[in-house]
Symmetry: C2
Subunit: 200 residues, 2 copies
DNA sequence: CGACTGAATGAACGCTTGTTTACCTGCGCG
DNA sequence: CGCGCAGGTAAACAAGCGTTCATTCAGTCG
């Protein structure tokens, strides 16, 4: 129920307002007014305000997952995959700062079914990094610092994965291009931090 | 305008609801109903709903700052101070999960003046860790991994401080005592991660 | 040309919101 | 003992909310 230019413009205006005020604090009238329309017009393009929020949140999560898959599959070993995943996360959350922030903060306001779908994508993304960390630990490329004699501790790997992703995701809360870092510089610094966290 | 038991009870109910639904999505009637009161009663204890949110957010931030100061001043050197700060952050965000999450997410909804006050506390907290990292780099205890020949790069230290705090703050989004980690175990794991990030 | 369609409109809907008001009540204290 | 008052109530308030609706209008196509 999307894909027309008008729908895209409404979604873009919504992202901007959601980012600045929060989704619940943003009214349908504000969104449509930003596009030079009146309130009722929104319902020619979205069945409800919640569906509009849903498409924004879902598109961002699916886009992120797609980029992560692409980058990871091009990397040869766990170290390269960790680097690739961190680069994609930082890039997405820095370059699409507003939609990323909205997606990460406001998805909790979706109804149970839709929220479950988003939570599932987020779990898949985290599990993907967890597996990379475990693979690297198995080859000796990483040292996750769990209890020494417990070779492949998945809960330790999950914890490190969570910490790495939390750090990357939060970039969307404060980053501004070129103040004082470029996106590329930020990527390289965060790659270094992630490698250190993994004990590389 | 706070400090009576009734005001505290209202604040506690508000934290719980804000945590689950967001502050803007929570109504005055829901908050008072949770305390067995009617809507009007809230105004015997708070001048507005926004002031209630403000006291919740401010109390959490001031409490965190107080604990950080206390822990840091008891530590002898930069390494000990970094460990102390991370322990406090993890402890507070794990043990007071709901109020921490509300404070970190919903402070953006406050009016300009109050938001500026909160942003200031957050900046002070981050600057404190930045200084610890710089001190540790000066003594050779840390290696922050900035450009090698630029001995005391404050922007690099700020970036590492931001990454460490973001990781700790986000604990409030997912932690549940004993699943599978206790607060104490989580503290030690995050201390290890932070030390690695600082190049200790 | 004339029928059809997608999209915008403005008015209205019913409901909920935060807040105010006028009134009531029970407890502590001079 | 009776008075004051902190703290409760129900009811009302205007404003604002998301959403619906009948209608209009501009293109498109056979």
């Amino acid at each position: 129920m999307t894909e027309t230019p008008a729908a895209r413009q409404l979604a873009a205006a919504a992202v901007d307002l959601f980012y600045r005020q929060g989704a619940k604090a943003t009214t349908v009238r504000e969104i449509t007014q930003a596009c030079g329309l009146t309130a009722g017009s929104l319902y020619n393009h979205f069945v409800s305000k919640e569906e509009l929020l849903y498409t924004v949140v879902r598109d961002m999560h699916l886009g992120l997952e797609r980029e992560v898959e692409r980058a990871q599959s091009a990397a040869p070993d766990p170290t390269g995959q960790l680097i690739a995943i961190v680069r994609v996360y930082v890039d997405q959350h820095a370059r699409h700062r507003k939609s990323s922030r909205v997606a990460n903060v406001e998805y909790t306001l979706l109804n149970a079914e839709r929220r479950a779908e988003i939570v599932d994508i987020r779990r898949r993304l985290r599990d993907r990094l967890t597996s990379v960390l475990l693979a690297g630990q198995a080859t000796g490329a990483f040292d996750l610092g769990g209890d020494a004699f417990d070779g492949a501790d998945r809960s330790t790997a999950t914890l490190v994965a969570t910490a790495i992703l939390d750090m990357c995701v939060h970039v969307s809360a404060w980053f501004h291009e070129g103040r004082p870092l470029s996106t590329a510089e930020l990527q390289e610094r965060y790659v270094l931090l992630a490698l250190r966290m993994a004990g590389s």
